[in-house]
């Protein structure tokens, strides 16, 4: 095998490894929320994972800064909420979770994900 092919082989293995680590190996930082939290919608949700208390009403203020069409809706399927997020406007969603556990939410097309961890 010629040296350039060896280089391409090694680079592609590294590339696959890097892609896996970069996209699938990340760990979300969980943010404890007591009453309200601003979630910035820009290429994803920041903070990405929030922890809220069971039975307590928490306000999630979504503020979309990213014009990508995919992000114009947020779907909290476990809470039966689908909301339009107009650009640069605060949209407040109130949650009073009755069950504890991990609930993911996503954009309208299911491409971007956020997580709500409900604790006892």
């Amino acid at each position: 095998m010629s040296p350039d092919k060896i280089i391409v082989a090694i680079a592609s293995i590294l590339g696959v490894g890097f892609t896996y680590w970069f996209f699938l190996g990340k760990k979300e930082k969980e943010v404890q929320v007591s009453d309200a939290v601003d979630i910035i919608v820009d290429g994803g949700y920041t903070p990405e994972a929030i922890s809220i208390a069971k039975g307590k009403t928490t306000k999630l203020n979504f503020i979309r800064r990213d014009p990508t069409a995919c992000l114009e809706e947020v779907v909290l399927g476990d809470f039966k909420i689908r909301r339009q997020l107009p650009l640069n406007q605060k949209v407040t969603i109130e949650l009073t979770p009755q069950r504890s556990g991990e609930f993911t939410y996503s954009c309208g097309m299911g491409m971007y994900h956020g997580k709500i961890i409900v604790t006892e």
Binding site: V16, G44, T57, R82, P86, Q89
Partner: protein, 744 residues
């Protein structure tokens, strides 16, 4: 003290609790006398002292609790949002036109078969670079923007794939143009691929344009429902009739409705009569005649007469507001079938990037010459053909159209899961009274024994039943009034024996009224009435036996009319392979007589209200998916126990809460429609998922070059972009087709 009233829009409201929070916060502002917030119109009406209260104070009272007040309407209204959306679409269209036009010119000057016909200037690589650059970085800017934002979060999406794919094609072409010698030195004929990047961007943007237009159609039902609401109401205030905004209507207001006008809120007619078209809420096409005492529903259309009515429900409590909320919730919920698509789409893009890297490596190492070119083109094709959007859109778009279509026909579906389960139903249990029958029995026979007269029997029965909510009680009282057997006797020690009857002391005599079992349990000899009882029950009549001081005194028989739609509903269910069962507290003979009329062969008779739930569970134990149809009030536990609870009629809050599906129009044929709707929606979802998964599973390997060893066939990245652009449109369009499908 002066007083001012102001109505303004509020952004961010979504539930009844928002109303309470906002009202409380507004009322806390010093100088505010009254504050009412309407969820359906998203408006607050505040009465206040203008010397103490400023717009700013009101605005901050609203924002303090997390909402936005549009007091000066500086912030975007719905119309502005609509305009903004239109503006976005126009900008998208411009980018599509420019990129396809420039891409077309590049294609003409660069595509092997075509280039000979093109003017020399277009064949220049430098001119092609000049034409491709605005397409790549102006029209394609949105792909880069989204990619950068996503990468910051260590996520990737379709834009990432498009951005990487087209950048690779553009960068390679730019190198070919600027440094042709370098490319030659590795044994490749310097030939740019500017057309690939430009046309891909144009086509994908074109796909997005159509997708955006189609997606707007999926949420049409909610917009239509919101649009149904009347804007103003003609209210009687201080002896004068004035037109006020609907958000200012209060419970107890007397409202005039003239012919051709919309009824503003829910209420009860106090004067006049009319024919009312309720089709927009119930889906029932025949107008309903209404007179004093009848209830009217907001947003329905008054046709012929003029009448006055008293508002009983306003704002978020009206039927329309509740329907909107229910449909919104259903559209926000997730169907279990979506889980797999969700799981796949969360890993999809990184996996495609890895596959693209591997494609490059395999073609470079093992492919034919020029290896670099094949490797690059196939890598671009893999990145461009993958379409996670189709998977993401497959289920929710169908659910949105399906639940919206249901609402238009008076079928309210609680959530996507209910819609999914409903298509598997094999057995439907119908409650008899009020569901299969009108629920308003009329007295047909009165028989007296032992020296009592028919008048006596009616009077005693009516005296006992006067406080009861039982449908039979109503019939007896009506008949007593009709036959002038009044006045009623005062009663003492009233006792209700659930499911069996009632007892009390009347003029010191112990009186029992109810079923045969109540009599035998209390040692009453009913031998004398056996013949009459057998005949009457055989005719499908419900009996109330009366015993005075331990002796049988008489029988009152009543019959309930079977609903005209019952037989057809049962027949149609049979046609789609669903067995119907009837459940009732009536004795077997009465039950069988009714069942025969509607064509039901399996009957569960003499089931006490509290036993219905257990009966539902017994049938579920047969291993089939069971739906229960009831009125939602007495049947709430049974509705909840069934796999699918279907509540008939506008009913109460209980009905909507306990039921998975609520049929507003009380038409039994809607049970069939609901099941058919569920089946058709699920079929659409399955088609969408099959297409979305199948598309990626088949075409990604093709783009990687899987067919090359056998047929020497490769996928041109331009064709990959056409396939990708059409895949998500086809999914959304397929969902929209549901609108045209018949469910009746």
């Amino acid at each position: 003290m002066s007083q001012t009233k102001k109505t303004f829009s509020i952004k961010g409201m979504h539930c009844a609790s928002c109303v309470l929070v906002l009202e409380r916060s507004l009322k806390q502002v010093e100088g505010v006398m009254q504050a009412t917030v309407n969820l359906a119109t998203e408006k607050a009406t505040v009465t206040y002292d203008p010397e103490k209260v400023t717009d700013k104070k009101l605005s901050s009272a609203v924002s303090n609790v997390g909402y936005q007040a549009l007091i000066t309407e500086e912030i975007k209204t719905e119309d502005d949002e609509q305009k903004e959306k239109q503006q976005e679409l126009r900008s998208l269209r411009l980018r599509v036109v420019v990129s396809l036009a420039l891409g077309g010119l590049i294609l003409w000057g660069g595509f092997p078969g075509l280039m000979k016909t093109a003017p020399m200037i277009l064949q220049s690589f430098w001119v092609q670079l000049l034409l491709a650059t605005p397409v790549q970085f102006w029209a394609g800017f949105s792909f880069y923007r989204a990619t950068i934002s996503a990468l910051k979060h260590r996520t990737a999406n379709m834009d990432t794939l498009v951005a990487i794919g087209t950048t690779v094609a553009y960068a390679y072409s730019a190198v070919v143009t600027v440094l042709p010698q370098l490319v030659k030195s590795v044994g490749i004929e310097p030939m740019p691929y500017f057309d690939t990047g430009a046309i891909i961007i144009g086509l994908i943007l074109l796909g997005r344009y159509f997708e955006a237009k189609a997606k707007a159609g999926t949420s049409e039902a909610i917009k239509k429902l919101i649009g149904l609401q009347a804007k103003t109401a003609r209210v009687l205030r201080d002896g004068k009739e004035i037109d006020i905004p609907i958000s200012e209507v209060m419970i107890g207001d007397i409202i005039r409705v003239r012919p051709g006008e919309k009824i503003p809120v829910d209420g009860v007619i106090t004067d006049g009569e009319s024919s009312i078209d309720e089709s927009m809420i119930t889906g029932e096409s025949m107008p309903a005649d209404k007179a004093k005492g009848d209830s009217v529903v907001g947003a329905t259309m008054n046709k012929t007469g003029t009448f006055m009515f008293k508002a009983t429900k306003v704002g978020s409590d009206t039927m329309l507001a509740r329907i909107i909320k229910l449909v919104q919730e259903a559209q926000g919920s997730k169907a279990p079938i979506q889980r797999l698509a969700d799981l796949v789409s969360s890993y999809f893009v990184p996996v495609v990037i890895m596959l693209a890297i591997l494609t490059f490596a395999v073609w470079y190492i093992f492919g034919p010459a020029p290896t670099l070119l094949f490797a690059l083109l196939n890598m671009v094709a893999v990145l461009i053909i993958a379409c996670p959007c189709a998977m993401g859109l497959a289920t929710p778009t169908a659910i949105m159209v399906g639940t919206g279509k249901g609402a238009e026909h008076g079928i309210l579906i609680k959530d996507a899961e209910s819609l999914e389960i409903a298509h598997k139903v094999k057995i439907i249990i119908f409650d008899k009274t009020g569901t299969l029958t009108e629920g308003e029995p009329k007295v047909t026979d009165v028989i007296a024994y032992g020296g009592f007269t028919e008048q006596d029997i009616l009077r005693y029965e009516a005296s006992l039943e006067v406080g009861s909510a039982h449908p039979l009680a109503k019939a007896i009282i009506e008949e007593t009034e009709l036959r002038k057997a009044m006045p009623l006797e005062p009663i003492e020690k009233f006792r209700s024996i659930v499911g069996h009857g009632i007892s009390a002391l009347i003029q010191g005599k112990s009186v029992f009224a109810g079923k045969e079992k109540l009599m035998t349990d209390n040692g009453v000899d009913i031998a004398l009435a056996k013949g009459d009882m057998s005949r009457l029950t055989g005719e499908g009549k419900t009996l109330s036996l009366l015993a005075i001081d331990g002796k049988l005194a008489g029988i009152v028989a009543a019959a309930d009319k079977v609903k005209s739609t019952a037989k057809m509903a049962v027949e149609n269910l049979k046609k789609i392979g669903i067995e119907s069962i009837m459940i009732t507290g009536d004795n077997e003979r009465t039950a069988n007589a009714i069942a025969k009329q509607v064509g039901i062969t399996r009957v569960l008779a003499e089931v006490l209200p509290e036993e219905k739930e257990a009966e539902v569970r017994k049938i579920q134990a047969e291993g089939k998916v069971v739906a229960m149809v009831g009125d939602g009030i007495n049947d709430a536990p049974a509705l909840a126990a069934a796999d699918i609870g279907i509540a008939m009629g506008s009913g109460t809050d209980v009905a909507i809460e306990a039921a998975d599906i609520t049929l507003i129009n009380k038409d039994l044929r809607s049970v069939v429609s609901a099941i058919v709707l569920s089946k058709k929606t699920m079929r659409t979802i399955k088609q969408n998922l099959f297409w979305a998964f199948g598309y990626n599973v088949v075409l990604i390997p093709v783009a990687m070059g899987a067919l090359y060893p056998f047929f020497h066939l490769l996928l041109n990245p331009i064709f990959a972009s056409i396939a990708m652009a059409t895949s998500s449109i086809s999914v959304v369009s397929n969902s929209l087709l549901l609108k045209r499908k018949s469910i009746v």
